[in-house]
Structure formats: C-alpha cells, structure tokens
C-alpha cells in the first residue's frame, strides 16, 4: 500500500517535470482569448459560450492527457527496460500497475481542478458588473456551483479512459494503444445508439450482438452533463452517485484485466 502510494506520487512528480501541466497555460490563454473575442461577437450569451468552451476544453485536455500519458505509463518502462530494476524492488507487479494508475488519476484531478478554478475566474471576470436584469437571461448563474458537478463527472469519465489506456498498454504498442483508446472513447459515447440499432436490425443475432456490445462497452455518454449544467437543468446527486459507481466498477474491471495480463507477462 505504501509502495503503491509512493509510485503514484512519483508518477505525479514525473508528469509535472514532463511539462504536462503546461497544458494549463494553453487552457488559460484559450479561455481568456475566447472570452475577449466572444465578448465582441455575440450578444448576451458570452457566459454560456465560455462555459461550453471551458468545460469542453477541460474535457479535451483531460482525455488527451489520460490517453497519451496513460499509454506510456507501463509500456515506456517496459520498452526502456527501467522496469527491470523497478520490479527488483520489494513490490508486486500489481502494485506497480495500480500505483501508476493512481498517479495519473492524481495528475488529472489536479489538472482538471486547476482548469475548473481558471474557468470560474474567467466567468467571475466576465460577469463582473453585469446588472441583475441582464443576468436574468442566462439559464444559470455565471458562477454556478453546478459546474463542479460536470467537472466531477468528467473526472469519473477520465478514470475510465485512463484505465482503458493502461489496459491496452499492458500488451500493445503505444500507437495502437492510443488508437484503440480513442476509438473506445468515441464508441463509448454511442452506446445508446448501439442499443437503438439493436432494435432496428432484423437479424436476431446481429441484434443480440449490438445489444451485448452496448451493455459491455464503456458507457461514457452518461458522464457528459455539461449541456445540462450550462442550461441550468438539475443534475441530481442520485444520478451522479450511480454514474460514479458505474465508473468505479468499470475501472475495477479494467484494472483487474490489466493486472492479470501484466502479472503474467515476460519481459524479454
């Protein structure tokens, strides 16, 4: 447990040194630049657009970090043989895997939290001095705490994406892992379509296959409540709880498979 935490902390430290957090600078520039430009362009809806943009950018940056660091977490150690001296230390292989995973999730939490804070700062600046009458047209207040709900569910989604990247990287090449993880990420947003597809096809076998896939593939669309939050619609804690639980179960499943593969692997 201690060793796992130590590995996780070092993944975080390494990612900081690897200039991963530089993306935050881009995020800030993007947000500030956009808020200036959009303020010039559109009437009244700049707060909505900045929320959309901020949350979408948080999500995109998060997914890219999860995928591109996730696929390298273990495969880079194996490829460069640094895993040899690492595994000679008194740790189990699963501890290495879980530690690496937790380290990246920690990095993502810090990263996404800073982005959320930056979004609030920009929103605070934009809504500064806006008369209450003008603010009434907004679907939700500028500094809406519900944005945190969207951020939290995004993090839940990222834990799954990270686990997918980690799983692929335990047995595949980085390029292929990245491609497959992005593929699953996109498919994961269409599992509902897949379910509808099952109702449309005539062949019972195809329908069964589509239905089976729709349940087995990661359902990532459920974590996207950004539109609801931006439009001020309620996102209940019950929904968030169930979605988070789903993420936890799915991550546990993915990590179990990863551990299974990784523990039996020969490092030739």
């Amino acid at each position: 447990m201690k060793a796992t935490a130590w590995i996780a902390i070092n993944v975080f430290r390494e990612s900081v040194r690897d200039k991963v957090l530089y993306n935050l600078v881009f995020f800030a520039i993007l947000l500030i630049g956009a808020s200036y430009l959009i303020g010039q362009l559109t009437a009244g809806q700049d707060v909505k657009i900045i929320k959309d943009l901020g949350l979408a950018a948080t999500s995109i940056f998060g997914v890219f970090i999860a995928v591109f660091i996730g696929i390298g977490l273990v495969s880079k150690e194996v490829e460069r043989r640094s895993v040899y001296s690492l595994l000679a230390k008194p740790i189990h292989r699963y501890q290495l895997l879980i530690g690496k995973y937790c380290g990246l999730v920690l990095t993502l939490i810090v990263n996404v939290s800073i982005m959320a804070a930056a979004l609030y700062v920009v929103l605070a600046y934009m809504s500064w001095g806006v008369p209450p009458a003008a603010a009434r047209i907004w679907d939700a207040p500028a500094l809406d705490p519900a944005l945190l709900k969207a951020t939290a569910l995004l993090l839940a989604e990222l834990t799954i994406v990270t686990a997918i990247a980690l799983l692929f990287s335990t047995f595949s090449t980085p390029m292929l892992s990245a491609a497959m993880t992005f593929g699953l990420y996109i498919v994961g947003h269409f599992t509902n379509d897949l379910r509808n597809f099952a109702d449309l096809v005539d062949s019972p076998a195809a329908a069964r296959l589509a239905r089976g896939l729709s349940w087995a593939l990661p359902n990532l669309a459920q974590f996207d409540v950004r539109a609801d939050v931006v439009h001020g619609l309620p996102v209940s804690f019950g929904y968030m709880g169930l979605a988070s639980l789903y993420a936890a179960v799915y991550v546990a499943m993915l990590l179990a498979i990863s551990v299974l593969i990784f523990s039996r692997r020969d490092f030739k």
Binding site: I38, L41, T42, A43, G44, Q45, K48, I49, D52, L53, L55, A56, S59, I60, A133, A134, R136, I137, D139, I186, H189, F190, D193, L220, A221, D224, R226, A227, V230, H231, L233
Partner: protein
C-alpha cells in the same frame, strides 16, 4: 566565439522578422493583383442536425456555439452588404415574401445550432428576430421565425418567453393580431410569466396594430428587457413610432402647402423658404427626413430606416 554566436542569433532573428514581413507584404501584393474569391459563406456542408450531433461526439454544445457565432456573422454580413449596395428596390418588398437569397443559409444555420444544442435559448429568440426582420435588414421570413421558436417549445414546453416571441412575430411581422393575442395569452398563463402579458393579450385583441398599443408593447419590452440588444431594439422601435407620428404631422403640413401652392413640394428648402417649417426637420435620431415626390419618409441613412409597415386595419384611427 560567444559573441559570434550571439550576433548570429541576432542576425537570424532579424532575418526571420524580415521574412515574416516579406510574406505579409507578398500576400497583400497578390491580393491586389489577384483579388481573392469572396469566401463562399453560403455553404453548409452538413445540414443534418442528428448527423452533426454524431460527428461532434461529446462536444455538441461547443459546435452549437460555433454555428451560432457563424449565424450571427452571416446575418450581420448580409445586412451590411445589402446596406452598402445600391438603394433597395422601391417600394419596399412585401412582408413574408422571400425576396432574396442573401440570407438563404440563415435558417439552416440556426436549425443546426439548435439541433446541436436544443436548449440554446438565445439562438431561438434572437434567431427568430433575425429571420422575421423584413428585407433588407433580414430575410423577412416570420414563418421560419415561428418554426424555429416552435422547435424550441418542443424542447422546453414551459418557456413562456418563446410563446411571447411567437406572439410578437405574429403581431409585428404578420400583423395577425388574433394569433398574436392567442400566444400572448398562452404565455401569460405559464408560471413565472410577467403580469403584463395577459393585459397585452387583451389589448392586442381589442386594438391590435394601432400605434398606441404598439408603443405600450415596446415600452413593456424595453423595461423588462433582460439584455442590451433587446432593449436597444425596443428603444429603436419606440423612436420609429415617434418618427411615424412626426411624419404624419409633417405630411399634413406639406399636404396643406401643396393644396395652397397648387403643386407638391419637391424639396425642403422650398418649404423652409415658404415658412412652412423653421428649418429642415430631423427624425428622432437627428437625421433629416427625406422628401420624395411630396411624401415624407425617413432617410435610408437613418438608423430608423426602414419604418415598420403601418397596420392595415380598416378602422385605423387618425394619427394622434
């Protein structure tokens, strides 16, 4: 050695800056000799909302924002282009008649925007205003404006604002006061709707279209307005109503002069010299009125131009 590498860096930097400058200048020269083709903004590669929703995966809302910004620019561009062109055909095109394809992509863009983000409030409300505006400030398609707002209502059936807006479109652009009153009534029955909607419904039904009720309505909008754009628009409408009143008065004087002189006045200086007016009359924005074949209108350069169609009611009351 060090000094040499430093001067090399400076030289490289100067060179790079010069090249950037040269590339900019070259583009300007090229554009002068070979003017770039007008960007074909009228192309929407994908018009199907559901297809676009799938293509943008988890980022529908952001895509909607982009299309909304594009729609605003498209509308603004069209308006500017038409305003800078030769004077619009006279008489002004009839309401509800599609007259030009200058705005032909406006509805598809708004439709796409609202399909990507079905709760994009402002895209419905402002979009409807854009669509309903008579040519040349808009495509003059109140039917599409109503269609867009009804799409919004399907998504959010409790939005009284959309009902109110449909009522306005019927009132202002269709002059269908019965339909307008019906929508105002519906809107007023929704929870959270302002009190004055019910009285507006009543007034509209009783005396729809007259200047006084219009003034009441725009005044209500101006005071309740939630954003600058709508408030400024309402203020402009009020000024237009004021201009209509002034024109009626001016026209009466001019007609009186014409009867006296036996010929219509052709320009303001004649009237000023005849002491009909103390000076050249100006509209509420300070722009002189135009005098065209004995008829007073606002000048096309005025912010108030074009004036709304006067109600075509049989029992139109004389101007107050």
């Amino acid at each position: 050695m060090r000094a040499r590498s430093a001067s090399a860096i400076v030289a490289a930097a100067v060179f790079a800056v010069m090249m950037v400058g040269a590339s900019i200048e070259l583009q300007a020269v090229r554009d002068r000799f070979y003017p770039p083709r007008e960007l074909d903004e009228d192309t929407l590669y994908i018009q199907s909302g559901p297809m676009m929703r799938r293509l943008t995966v988890a980022y529908n809302a952001l895509a909607a924002d982009l299309y909304w910004i594009r729609a605003i620019q498209y509308y603004g561009d069209g308006k500017r282009r038409l305003a800078s062109q030769a004077r619009v055909p006279d008489p002004p095109p009839m309401i509800a008649a599609p007259t030009s394809d200058a705005y032909s992509m406006l509805y598809p863009m708004l439709d796409l925007t609202t399909s990507l983000d079905p709760r994009f409030n402002i895209a419905y409300r402002f979009g409807a205003v854009f669509l309903a505006e008579p040519y040349p400030s808009g495509p003059g398609r109140p039917d599409l404006a109503v269609k867009l707002l009804e799409k919004g209502l399907r998504e959010r059936p409790d939005k009284w604002e959309y009902m109110e807006d449909i009522g306005f479109v019927h009132y202002w652009y269709d002059h269908d006061y019965r339909a307008a009153a019906e929508w105002f009534r519906k809107a007023g029955e929704m929870p959270g709707a302002p009190w004055w909607l019910r009285s507006l419904a009543a007034t509209t039904l009783a005396q729809g279209g007259d200047r006084q009720s219009s003034r009441t309505m725009w005044e209500a909008i101006r005071q309740s307005s939630e954003n600058d754009w709508l408030r400024l628009d309402a203020e402009r409408r009020l000024l237009q109503l004021q201009a209509l009143d002034q024109i009626d008065q001016l026209q009466a004087e001019i007609d009186k002069y014409a009867r006296r002189a036996g010929a219509p006045a052709t320009n303001w200086s004649t009237l000023v010299r005849a002491r009909v007016f103390p000076g050249m009359p100006v509209d509420p924005t300070g722009t002189p009125y135009a005098l065209d074949g004995g008829r007073v209108t606002v000048d096309p350069s005025s912010r108030l131009w074009p004036l709304p169609q006067e109600p075509r009611r049989a029992d139109s009351r004389p101007p107050s």
